[in-house]
Amino acid sequence: VNEDLYHTMLLIRRFEERVVDLVNANEIAGVTHEYVGQEAVAVGVCTSLRSDDVITSTHRGHGHLIAKGADVGGMMAELLGRVDGLNRGRGGSMHIADLGIGIYGANGIVAAGAPFAAGAAWSFRVAGSDRAAVTFFGDGGANQGILHETMNVAALWGLPLVFVCENNGYAVTLSQERSTAGSLADRAAAYGMAAEDVDGMNVDSVFEAASRAVGRARKGGGPTFLECRTYRYFGHHTAERTMKLTYRSDEEIERWRLRDPIVAAQASLDPGVVQRIRAEVESQLDDAIAFARKSPRPEPADAVEYVYASGLTPRSGVSG
């Protein structure tokens, strides 16, 4: 594993752990969906992309953004609801986006971003470019109709689109066994789409599979379905820790932790390098949090500032 991949995975891991602290301290409102455990997928996939390629993300999107190159200070400010956030405090964790580097947003509705990726991929192809699009979704998203509608059209038209299924075993609390008939890769095969079963806990495996898929997309070879088998160590969202849920066991979580992609990557690196990267990551995150805390909160009077591109002001809720 090279240093950069380790650095990005660790940055995601520590970003998320710090986010949990900030949620628990009520500095971040609402809930966030942590990516801890799945880092190898985002990093392996996004390392295979260029900055002019696009991704659509999910409710569990922080890792995708960091891996695609989003600024962690801008992300942290967004999660704190500040004006210097990537979305100026208008999106929060579930809608965080950076269109300038091809991040078409996290999404609060499962698999709803998939057709955005298809529309972008089609636009790239008719413009004669070799740009590609990636849509991330989970095993839960694989049961949404809109995902299948998108797979159909992507395969039919040979779009430069990579479907990355992060199969972490659970759609919120419902296990894949209880939610999903057949195999996900077989579903891709039914559309005539190339599919790969990928070890989502191994960043090199993900990177190699993603590079093959993106290369195929760029050369006009059509879409690929990557089923990345992975796991989230934390709950579906931050509030889950207080809920005493029984859908999975501590033993199961511990079993997956034995295959931790960051621990594995660390073992392959020189200890001095690891120490340096760890220090860099903490310093980056210290700066990110300081930047976020220093950023002003939005003015209540600006609540509807970005509703319409045309500048139309929405009607107020109060009679004159």
């Binding site: 986006a97 509705i109 990726a117 529309g119 089609w122 509608e149 319409y308 139309l312 009679s319």
Partner: protein
Amino acid sequence: MTAVRYLPAVGRALRDEMAADPNVFVIGEDVRESLRGVTRGLLEEFGPDRVLDMPISEQMFTGFATGAALAGRRCVVEYQIPALLYISFEQIVNQAQKLRLMTGGQATVPVVYLVPGSGARAGLAAQHSDHPYSFFLHAGVKTVLPSTPADAYGLMLSAIRDDDPVLYFAPAAALPVRGELPNDPEPVPIGSARIHRSGTDVTVVAVGHLVHDALAVAEELEHEVSIEVFDPRTLYPFDWELLRESVGHTRRLVVVDDSNRTCGLAAEIVATAAEEMELEARPRRITRTDAPVAFALELERAVLPSRDQIVAAVRAAVAEGRS
């Protein structure tokens, strides 16, 4: 000036804008064959990359338009029947419409959702007869409902050029209307209403095809009452300024709306008039009944607004104002 029918005017606007802007393209079901008549000739003129037939996957192709828009294109999405908007509802109101705000101004989503043949078409029964604009007004989606070929042309130009999502309803009952189209027609600004006929006794706000019913009633009653016929043309944002002027001199208001009764456009217009305008008579609403449209033609007509109802409401409003 040439006389044209409604849908060819829509089609001509789409054609002119596709010729003017290479980023504009159209997608939908059976658009290459032009089953609904709007996209006739576009495939031949602009080729298959500008006119895309979509599989029957309305949610997907609505989101596809959003993705293409984020990548810099301008998409017109045609829906063969109004009820397809129910399938696409999440992608329109919860995705495309919110993206600008959610991204803090990063996203621009110039997509037009076109329904050529909205509302009831005799005998198409419950699932093909709705006129679902009020759902979208509630969500703040820019929505236009032109009543004449000239407005149909001008509002299509504006809708395509607008940087926000715009819903465009071409009412089935207005499609036979013929009208004059100048040789070099202009865009009609979104958000501007039009007074079709000036009057002094009562303002009748009517939408889409119902404008023609209101005009017929105004003519029929012209020796009895002076009716001002107000056509919003754009339902969101509504031209409250022009309505305030109109009601300011007539002091009476009748609203004719092809939505259901509850929480429909007419409810909003009447509520706003009650709060903000001086009325001498209670405002009246003529809407659809709160019920699905049944198949038999007698039953269909029974739940839709009619000219007789407009006549009765106008007479009641005028009588009350004079007493």
